[in-house]
């Protein structure tokens, strides 16, 4: 199949930015609310700005969750979750009340516990330090700044799923990776040069 990215629309804002960024990076993309469309793409992006509990409910009710289970877990289509989209990969989230996430990567999403002088939400540019040889970060120097805007973070149950960490509130997981499944807490579509490199690397995966 020719490279086409399905960007999932589940009323969680921010679609246009991701769409434009993918196109800037030379990708072909379409936005969809229809789970059937996940059969017609080579890559899937789940963007997200919003609240965990409401968002997972919408993914579930629309049939998108089932389609993701098939395409991502069974058919191994490359998947990238951005911000809330990464958090929804978890087994559980606490924002907006306890809710079960997609459960594709073990762990839970909890609110930041700030240390002295640290303000929440975590808003702005911060370093992403790579853990392992994650293909998303190919050609990027570890420790570069990416743009974050969030109050909750993903606590991984297995250290091998951690692809990157960022120094804030004692350090948190800023990227996850398991097989064909990737998640980034930062916004690559807003992180200019380095962000676009991450998107290009994702688009280059088969």
């Amino acid at each position: 199949m020719a490279m086409t990215v399905a960007i999932i629309d589940y009323d969680a804002g921010n679609l246009d930015s991701v769409n434009r960024a993918v196109k800037e990076c030379g990708g072909a993309a379409f936005i969809t609310k229809n789970p059937e469309d996940l059969k017609k793409c080579s890559h899937i992006i789940l963007p997200g700005v919003g609240v965990f509990s409401d968002s997972i409910k919408r993914l579930r009710q629309s049939g998108m969750e089932r389609a993701l289970q098939t395409q991502v877990l069974e058919n191994k289509i490359p998947f990238l979750g951005i911000c809330l989209g990464m958090q929804l990969l978890a087994e559980q989230g606490t924002e907006g009340g306890e809710a079960n996430g997609l459960g594709f990567i073990n762990g839970e999403v909890v609110r930041f516990q700030p240390e002295q002088g640290e303000r929440i939400p975590h808003i702005g540019w911060n370093e992403v330090v790579f853990n392992q040889g994650c293909p998303l970060f190919e050609g990027i120097e570890s420790g570069k700044d990416f743009y974050f805007v969030h109050s909750f973070h993903f606590v991984c149950a297995k250290t091998e799923d951690i692809a990157a960490t960022t120094p804030y509130c004692g350090g948190f997981v800023s990227a996850v990776w398991k097989d064909n499944i990737f998640g980034v807490q930062f916004h690559p579509e807003k992180s200019q040069t380095v962000g676009f490199k991450v998107l290009k690397n994702f688009l280059g995966l088969c």
Partner: protein, 252 residues
């Protein structure tokens, strides 16, 4: 380490980019689109875009305008101007805003803050507070682009906004805005000490030293500026280079 941000602000009125002094004597200074393109090319940390006429005219900022602007923006964008409902917030996020600024409505309908935070998350909700310092030394919040007094203290409003779920405060000194005489350091400090969400200092930046003081002395998480970038040769990059030389962590 989270970096301190330098954020250019663009003010919009009657189809143009404008700048005023103390929220008055607005003059046209050029095309908003052009300014957005230039800042995008320069890779600034963030951009704030405010329609300063919207509230007084009883309308919200034009969504199609923001759609066009967002198309030129590959950096985080905060948009404000007459936002008064969660639908306004939804539309703005849909057309490309990353954060939505609520000013007049934060005072007239504070429930909007909690509703927007509940639906979209606190990180999208910026409460913008315009404050005037009276000759008595007391501070008062004004709404509708500085025209309507509220009798409310900016510190109290900031605390209330935080408790309702605002993710960030954009704090502007009305009388200093456009003067390039320096930020109101005392005002900023009072607010940063009262809340634990990030505070963006705004109004009065005339030099890189002003920005340094707002950060080091007053605890601002970010500095917004307009006149200094529009009317002098100063640039956001130069500002950050200066701040870095003063041991402030910035993204360069």
């Amino acid at each position: 380490m989270l970096k301190t941000r330098v954020i250019p602000t663009l003010l919009y009125k009657d189809d143009s980019l404008v700048k005023g002094v103390a929220f008055d004597s607005w003059r046209t200074i050029g095309s908003a689109m052009q300014a957005v393109k230039v800042y995008n090319m320069r890779g600034v940390d963030e951009l704030v875009f405010l329609d300063v006429a919207a509230s007084a005219e009883g309308r919200v900022v034009d969504f199609s305008l923001i759609d066009e602007i967002a198309d030129e923006c590959f950096m985080p964008l905060t948009v404000g101007g007459g936002v008064r409902s969660t639908n306004n917030v939804r539309e703005l996020l849909k057309v490309g805003a990353d954060k939505v600024s609520i000013n007049t409505a934060a005072v007239l309908n504070p429930k909007l803050i909690s509703e927007a935070a509940k639906v979209f998350g606190s990180q999208c909700v910026v409460v913008s507070i315009d404050s005037k310092k009276h000759t008595s030394g007391d501070y008062e919040v004004f709404i509708k682009a500085g025209k309507a007094p509220t009798g409310i203290n900016p510190v109290d409003l900031a605390k209330k906004a935080e408790s309702l779920g605002a993710g960030e405060i954009l704090l502007t000194s009305i009388e200093r805005d456009g003067t390039m005489q320096g930020y109101d350091l005392e005002l900023i400090k009072k607010v940063t000490e009262a809340v634990s969400i990030p505070v963006i200092a705004s109004g009065g930046a005339g030099s890189y030293e002003d920005m340094e003081k707002a950060i080091k002395h007053s605890g601002a998480s970010a500095v917004a500026a307009s006149s200094i970038f529009q009317f002098t040769h100063s640039t956001p990059l130069e500002a950050k280079t200066y701040l870095k030389s003063k041991n402030i962590n910035v993204r360069i």
